[in-house]
């Protein structure tokens, strides 16, 4: 703040009692905006002055008007360009603003078209003219337009030679706390003030509570991973243990064959699955189990008809990027079956899976799968539905319906639908089922052990929860970090 200027203003006001800021600007020979700025800072010190806002309408020249004031009106220029012998109209039109000037000069009766010759030419009609428009505009430019009628002004306005402007200024008067000097107002409480104790005598500037504070410098966690944390928490609360899913490269055996997914199944096409060229094959499998899997596919067994086709080891050896974390569940269940005594388990995992899909707003080549598995004696379909009900309740979803579905490795299979109040409709949120005996029995799990499992993507509920329409706005290197920094804490049940 320029306190010198403030004091000049206050001194002038002391001597003259009242003044308009515009006038003050010309007296002090300062820019009007600067005067206004100083006024604001004076006001911040208290009621020293009263400022009445004044809106004054004024007129000023447009760029075109300034041109006319300098070089004469377009019509006068046309008139001056007409020689005694006359001139072709097309020549006149070449002048700048020729068209406007020509029609105006015609209507003023300054020039006429002599059609007696062929082609017709333009000639002067009067010997002399007076460029009133130019004179008027020069007067307006000089700030003296009392002699110009409103009608004339309206005409110039229509011709876009002048424009109306509103000048905002203030009429300043002495206020109740008027003084010719400013006491310095403190902006903040400082340690020096505490030390000296002079905070008791100081005047503090009024604080503006209507502005935002300074955003803290902070790192932020990614919203999708915040949701992942919440999901992990829910599983842990429900007594589930986390499966080791840190193996993205898997072979077809565990990803498909062990799950009783036949070798010609469409999911095993290159269209849907990323196969690996290096390292292309896996070579170590539990031999006995492998032959039992081969047999259940090609010949059936364990009460099953089987798919009855020639099962090919080479197909099972093919390495791929796992298409689901169920491949890990299969490995875990196999391991469980090898233990001397069966013990019931509840497992979960949340990790990346890969699909060679066509990408769009809701599909990426990699996404996170949430999976839950329970294996115990004599589990029922009602148990599976009951577990979901509790699981989704923790996500804040209470309205659930279950639709029969097909999945090669679960039977019965169900799709889980929930009612989305925002969208006003039922949407599919997950898939589930009981693992088929053709999958569990070759592992040598006890016959009355049943395993129920469900899966959903982490991205979909996150997108619904936070209102994302495009998955690329949520994950990947193209995300807007500001979005990450602004994302709220995650409470799925809120």
């Amino acid at each position: 703040m320029n306190s010198g200027m403030a004091e000049k203003i206050l001194k002038y006001l002391d001597e003259n009692n009242e003044v308009n800021t515009l006038k003050l600007a010309s007296i002090l020979n300062e820019d009007h905006q600067k005067i206004i700025g100083t006024l604001k800072s004076i006001q911040a010190h208290g009621d020293l002055v009263v400022a009445e806002p004044i809106n004054e309408k004024n007129i000023e020249l447009t760029e075109e008007g300034k041109l006319v004031a300098r070089q004469g009106s377009h019509e006068a220029n046309i008139y001056k360009a007409v020689p005694e012998a006359g001139i072709a109209q097309s020549e006149l039109m070449k002048l700048s603003n020729g068209k406007v000037g020509f029609s105006k000069a015609m209507s003023n009766g300054w020039i006429f078209v002599d059609k007696s010759v062929n082609p017709p030419v333009i000639k002067k009609k009067v010997p002399d003219i007076k460029d009133i428009a130019q004179e008027h505009l020069q007067q307006i430019e000089a700030g003296n337009h009392s002699s110009i009628t409103d009608k004339e002004k309206a005409e110039y306005k229509k011709r876009k030679l002048i424009q109306e402007i509103v000048i905002k200024s203030f009429l300043l008067k002495k206020g109740p706390e008027f003084s010719t000097t400013l006491t310095k107002l403190e902006t903040d409480l400082t340690s020096d003030m505490l030390l000296s104790g002079n905070w008791k005598d100081l005047k503090f500037k009024e604080y503006n509570f209507d502005a935002l504070g300074v955003p803290p410098v902070t790192g932020c966690l990614h919203p999708l991973l915040k949701v992942r944390t919440e999901f992990r928490q829910i599983f842990l609360e429900m007594g589930f243990s986390e499966m080791p899913t840190n193996n993205y490269v898997e072979n077809s055996f565990w990803n498909f064959d062990a799950l009783f997914q036949p070798q010609q199944h469409p999911a095993r096409d290159a269209h849907d699955t990323f196969f690996i060229s290096d390292p292309q094959f896996s070579y170590t499998f539990p031999e006995d189990y492998l032959s039992r899997v081969q047999s259940v596919h090609s010949k059936g067994g364990y009460g099953s008809q089987g798919y009855r086709y020639d099962w090919d080891l080479k197909e099972a050896q093919k390495n791929l990027l796992r298409t689901h974390t169920t491949a890990v569940s299969a490995r875990m269940l196999y391991k469980l079956a090898q233990q001397k005594e069966f013990r019931p388990v509840k497992w979960f995992s949340i990790d990346k899976v890969f699909r060679n899909e066509t990408l769009d707003a809701t599909h990426l080549a990699e996404f996170h799968q949430v999976e839950g598995v329970i294996a115990d004696y004599n589990l029922t379909l009602g148990d599976l539905i009951g577990v979901f009900t509790e699981f989704f309740k923790k996500l804040g979803i209470t309205e659930l319906e279950f639709k029969p579905a097909y999945n090669p490795y679960t039977e019965p299979s169900m799709e889980i639908f929930c009612f989305h109040p925002g969208l006003g409709k039922w949407i599919e949120i997950g898939n589930s089922g009981m693992f088929r005996p053709e999958m569990l029995l070759p592992m040598r799990l006890p016959e009355n052990v049943r395993a129920i499992a469900w899966g959903l993507s982490l991205e979909r509920p996150t997108m619904i929860k936070y209102g994302f329409n495009n998955i690329r706005d949520l994950t990947g290197p193209k995300v807007d970090l500001e979005m990450v920094q602004r994302s709220p804490i995650c409470r799925l049940d809120k």
Binding site: T218, G219, L221, L225, R232, L236, G239, F240, S241, E242, N246, N247, V249, E250, P266, F274, I276, D278, P279, Q280, S282, Y283, T284, P286, Y302, S304, Q305, Q317, N319, P344, K346, K352, F354, N356, T358, A365, E366, I374, D376, N378, T380, L381, G382, I385, V387, T389, F402, K403, P404, A405, Y406, P408, P412, P437, R450, P477, K478, L481, E482, Q485
Partner: protein, 641 residues
């Protein structure tokens, strides 16, 4: 999941009942179908071809239901099957008895009569082609007007130049060779050509007069095409998989048989492979299964009596009878090849009972939750790194080869232990990342508008090709190289003994033999133990969990990421090893083409390198389109688990 289009009015007429869209959606839902879309032919064309397309002119405005069918229910892929299934489900119809009957004359196939317009069956054929037939590569189906042909028929394979016929809906003869070119640009057919194109001989079906019925799996002949006047239909089905061919033929025959004069009956054909080997198709075999009442109730979680369970199953087209005790006899019709196991029958009990009517219970399973230690550590580290002012990025595992090689200053991808994708659809998915750095740099590049400094981090997995994880496949994997060497030596000793008859050679041989036997026993035991452990995971590649952090500012600020490293080590209770010994961590200058010369160090933890920290090389920044200097930190956190 296949989707079929059915005309709504025709569907309701066949069902004998009119529904609102919502009511029908509900019926579908309970039965495991999904009313995907309510549309018209015109809308569908508009959606595909755009608004002011000439194709929409004359397109029907009749309401069409698009219905999603579960992939294993081949019997519901046409209007006929869908209506039959739904009516039985609603208890308005009893499951029909499909029958294969012999004709009198024995060898050549005879007739069954088609009484109605069969055009509506075409889409079904198409849907089956797309579904179980795997785009005709496994099974191909042809239907013919039997009365235009004269049996017996021959299914042969001939060189393409020798096959000549008028294909369906054409008026000119083509050789099979010419057809390959002719259909090369055909919107639907071109996709099937590669199935046989490069074979020296093509499969062909002809009648006794040499009339070509079809060139499976491409096209039928025009001669025997089905018209509105067709009375007798011959169905042929060619395949590379007999099980699938049987399923397809049974399904097609059952669906056609609804239009037969003797409803649900079809005549058989004898297929002779050689003089001694011949089969009769279609089988239309009904299979009988016995399932346990207790298990059905137990698995679903309901308490129904035997008669009720049988009634529920009949609703699912499975005729069932409760014979007292615990036993329910279930007859599986030839339309339900999806029923492979008792569990499929239990599922049908649950569907018929209604999934949403089952009482929701909680399993009695009592377990204690536990986090995976690696994930627990990762999650715990994310908070203090964010607290230190770094924002979390989430980038892709898949990337381009350049991203992890040439863009990081390496000469070639061959220098990187990367896992390669064989079938990427775009350059973005060629390899799995071996470092987290490229993803973070791409994130930086996409966020240039943010004020500096930008500090990013990610804790995630990279994938490394790990040749140690590859075993050579053998029948007896415990035979190691040294053991094989010993076996060779043993054979040599035996030969030597045979030649010399020397006792010493024999003793040496016996001694070695016992050593080998002992080694085999131990090796086998170790292998078995390994199999029980995690070693059977091996696929030739492994994940590694890493932390990567980058500071991007007007100056590179090595000390910022270095400070973060010190902070993380402090939190992990790892001391700074000033003496550079085997306890704690320290930095050791190194060179890496991704980093500025003289500004890169290895992070040594307990004597071994776990990662790097340094100022990124300007060439790297240019390649990733980052305009400001960066310092970076990347190391594995697995040693700290």
């Amino acid at each position: 999941m296949p989707t079929i289009n059915v005309k709504r009015d025709l569907l309701f007429k066949s069902l004998g009942k009119v529904y609102t869209d919502e009511e029908f959606q509900k019926v579908c839902f309970e039965f495991g179908l999904e009313l995907d879309e309510v549309t018209t032919e015109k809308q569908m064309i508009t959606k595909e071809q755009g608004e002011d397309c000439q194709l929409t002119q004359g397109a029907s405005e009749e309401i069409i239901y698009r219905i999603d069918i579960p992939a294993n229910r081949y019997d519901l892929l046409c209007l006929e099957g869908l209506v039959l299934g739904l009516q039985i489900f609603q208890g308005r119809l009893q499951p029909p008895n499909f029958m294969a009957i012999k004709n009198e004359s024995g060898f050549s196939p005879t007739h069954f009569t088609v009484t109605k317009n069969v055009n509506s069956i075409r889409p079904f054929v198409d849907k089956l082609h797309q579904n179980i037939c795997r785009k005709r590569s496994l099974v191909a189906i042809g239907t013919h007007d039997y009365d235009t042909l004269e049996g017996p028929f021959t299914y042969d394979a001939k060189p393409p130049s020798e096959i000549k016929f008028v294909p369906l809906n054409q008026n000119k003869e083509f050789t099979a060779e010419e057809l390959m070119t002719f259909y090369g640009s055909h919107a639907q057919l071109k996709q099937y050509l590669p199935i046989i194109k490069d074979s020296p001989v093509y499969p062909v079906i002809t009648d006794s007069k040499g009339v070509v019925l079809s060139l499976p799996p491409i096209i039928n002949g025009d001669h025997s095409k089905i018209t509105l006047n067709t009375k007798n239909v011959l169905i042929e089905c060619t395949a590379t998989d007999l099980t699938k061919a049987t399923i397809v033929l049974d399904t097609i025959v059952c669906m056609f048989s609804q239009y037969c004069k003797d409803k649900y009956k079809a005549e058989t054909v004898q297929i002779k492979y050689s003089k001694s080997k011949s089969f009769v198709y279609p089988e239309l075999r009904y299979r009988n299964e016995k399932v346990s009442l207790k298990k059905a109730n137990g698995l679903v979680g309901i308490k129904q009596n035997g008669a009720d369970i049988a009634k529920l199953l009949s609703k699912m087209s499975l005729k069932s009878e409760f014979s007292g005790g615990d036993e329910i006899k279930v007859t599986i019709p030839p339309t339900r090849h999806d029923v492979m196991h008792a569990c499929d029958i239990y599922e049908d009990v649950a569907i018929a009972y209604g999934y949403n009517n089952i009482e929701r219970t909680l399993p009695k399973t009592n377990t204690i939750g536990e986090q995976l230690p690696l994930n627990k550590l990762s999650d715990l580290l994310r908070y203090p790194i964010a607290e230190a002012g770094f924002t979390e990025a989430l980038t892709f595992t898949l990337c381009a080869r350049d991203d992890i090689s040439t863009k990081l200053g390496l000469a070639s991808i061959k220098d990187v232990p990367a896992v390669h994708i064989s079938n990427p659809k775009t350059l973005e998915f060629q390899v799995c990342r071996t470092t987290l750095l490229p993803g973070i740099l791409k994130t930086l590049s996409a966020n240039k508008k943010l004020p500096l400094p930008i500090k990013l981090f990610e804790i995630s997995d990279v994938v490394l090709k790990d040749s140690n994880a590859v075993f050579v496949y053998k029948k007896k994997p415990w035979f190691t190289e040294s053991l094989c060497e010993m076996v060779r030596k043993k054979k040599g000793l035996y030969r030597k003994y045979k030649k010399s008859g020397n006792e010493i050679d024999l003793n040496n041989y016996k001694e070695l033999k016992s050593v080998i036997n002992k080694s085999v026993k131990l090796g086998k035991q170790a292998y078995m133990e390994q199999m029980m452990g995690d070693e059977y995971l091996k696929v030739g590649a492994r994940n590694e969990r890493r932390i990567c952090a980058v500071n991007c500012n007007k100056n590179a600020g090595f000390e910022i990421v270095h400070g973060l490293l010190d902070r993380i080590m402090l939190l992990l209770e790892v001391p700074w090893s000033q003496k550079k010994d085997n306890t704690g961590y320290y930095l050791k200058a190194t060179n890496d083409p991704a980093y500025f010369p003289g500004r890169c160090a290895e992070i040594i933890y307990n004597g071994s390198s776990i990662g790097k920290v340094g100022v990124l090389h300007p060439e790297v920044l240019i390649k990733f389109e980052v305009n400001n200097p960066c310092s970076a930190l990347e190391f594995s956190i697995e040693p700290f688990v």
